[in-house]
């Protein structure tokens, strides 16, 4: 089972290291042909405008959409924006998940923060249910979820920061920047269950 990381720009190496530590084989994806045979894909954090432009320039938008209709895809931060249907900005989006996002929703870099989240879904990979320590960097927010998308985590004030829609996963924070590997394990389980379909 090979997992792809979209390697156009951003912290794809951090995702790769984490997935490899969990025993997954990982391939960097920069061109459409490199999607063939992958069981799942991670779209990392980075600058969503840069990623969108590079994806458009190398004809990746349609192949990524097609891939995401069949296979598990997880977007973190910029990746979550890329998966959304609306980001309130003129930029290429995959429009795969029924979520709309607000970019830079918390302000500028001085407003970036860390906080503990309650993520009940993670009990499927770790029954302890301990809080999940999340890092938010110039993070977007998930403004609304619709259709079959459901909320996985919110801030104490109720604002949505993680969502799942079937085999698609979006987190506006960065599990690849902390040693806690529960979200990566959760995603690998998602890939596995999708492949067993």
């Amino acid at each position: 089972m090979e997992i792809g990381v979209l390697a156009l720009q951003g912290d794809f190496a951090e995702h790769q290291a984490m997935l490899e530590k969990l025993g997954a084989a990982v391939r960097q994806v920069r061109q459409p042909g490199q999607l063939a045979g992958l069981a799942g894909l991670v779209i990392p954090g980075g600058e969503s405008t840069t990623m969108g432009k590079l994806a458009a320039a190398y004809d990746l938008i349609e192949p990524l959409r097609e891939f995401g209709r069949m296979h598990a895809v997880w977007g973190t931060c910029a990746g979550a924006i890329f998966l959304s249907r609306d980001a309130g900005n003129e930029q290429p989006l995959l429009d795969l998940m029924d979520i709309s996002v607000i970019r830079n929703a918390f302000g500028r870099q001085v407003d970036s923060f860390e906080i503990d989240l309650d993520v009940p879904e993670l009990k499927s990979v770790d029954p302890s249910g301990k809080p999940y320590h999340a890092v938010f960097i110039r993070a977007p927010l998930i403004d609304s979820v619709s259709g079959s998308a459901k909320v996985l985590a919110s801030l104490p004030d109720g604002r949505i920061v993680a969502a799942r829609q079937g085999h698609l996963l979006a987190t506006v924070f960065h599990p690849e920047l902390t040693p806690d590997d529960r979200f990566h394990r959760y995603f690998l389980e998602l890939v596995k269950s999708r492949s067993d379909h």
Partner: protein
């Protein structure tokens, strides 16, 4: 746990998000839009690009906050700005207007020849230049959350960027093969904090993101630095001192992503128009070099 802001993790985390990307020097909101449209991951807001600072001479200071604020309004990507080495009040001003990163930069005229800014005291993260591993780890010790090799800014000559990147990466390789009992002497020799030397040895890389800067003017230059092993590139005068900035900027962005793909590099290098007029560092008088500013 309550919400925590300005931790070292979020400071160095933003630099991690910039990896594999190009940070471009811009002097107007229009430049900033061109850079963003070309796919820049961030812009560096300046009054003059380094080539013009060289040409004009005089004392180079922090840019007028009004210009920086206009650039911040013009784009949605992160905006960086430069403070003079050791000028912590310029840094306080830049933090007050809300820039996303401060570059404590040798491109400006140093304000303090003995001390760099104590960067841990700030909420906003800092990037600093280096020529070797000791200099990089001293800056990280002071709180820098991102490092760039200095190169020789405003020349369009990549030779110093290569020298500095090879020096840093070579020293890290040497360090990794040192037996533990020799690490303290190595720290003493390069003048770096022991704990950061140990951390670098364990990680096999610097504890923060490391970009290349100073003299990068073509897509091939950017890909060269990426293949040598840096995490991303700064392009200063190379874009807006060239014949067709929008086209060259987009080409350098593509070359930084596809740095290992000569087919793509060949394609994006075609028909870019005039590059910036370069100045060879080899024949430049020592007094005109700026990489030696700071320690």
């Amino acid at each position: 746990m309550e919400k925590e802001v300005a931790t070292f993790a979020v400071k160095k985390g933003l630099a991690q998000m910039l990896k594999g990307g190009v940070i471009m020097d811009v002097v107007t909101p229009d430049h900033a839009k061109i850079a963003e449209d070309a796919g820049a991951v961030a812009v560096m807001a300046l009054e003059r690009v380094p080539a013009d600072i060289r040409a004009t001479g005089g004392v180079a200071r922090m840019t007028d906050p009004e210009i920086i604020l206009k650039i911040m309004d013009a784009v949605s990507i992160p905006v960086m700005a430069k403070a003079r080495i050791g000028h912590f009040v310029e840094a306080q001003i830049l933090e007050a207007i809300g820039v996303d990163y401060i570059d404590e930069s040798e491109v400006l005229t140093p304000a303090d020849e003995a001390h760099h800014i104590y960067k841990h005291a700030f909420k906003v993260p800092f990037v600093c230049g280096c020529r070797n591993l000791g200099e990089a780890l001293r800056r990280i010790g002071e709180g820098a959350a991102m490092i760039r090799t200095k190169g020789e800014a405003g020349t369009g000559d990549v030779v110093e960027a290569v020298r500095h990147a090879r020096t840093v990466l070579g020293e890290i390789r040497t360090l990794q093969y040192l037996p533990e009992e020799e690490v303290m002497a190595f720290s003493k020799e390069i003048g770096a904090p022991y704990e950061l030397v140990l951390e670098t040895r364990t990680l096999g890389r610097m504890p923060v993101v490391n970009f290349a800067a100073g003299g990068i003017a073509t897509p091939a230059d950017a890909a060269l630095m990426m293949q040598i092993g840096v995490d991303g590139v700064f392009v200063g005068s190379g874009i807006f001192k060239s014949g067709d900035p929008a086209r060259r900027a987009a080409a350098i962005v593509k070359a930084t992503t596809h740095y290992n793909d000569p087919q793509v590099l060949a394609e994006v290098s075609r028909n870019l128009g005039e590059p910036m007029v370069g100045r060879s560092v080899a024949v430049m008088p020592e007094t005109e070099k700026i990489a030696g500013r700071g320690w």
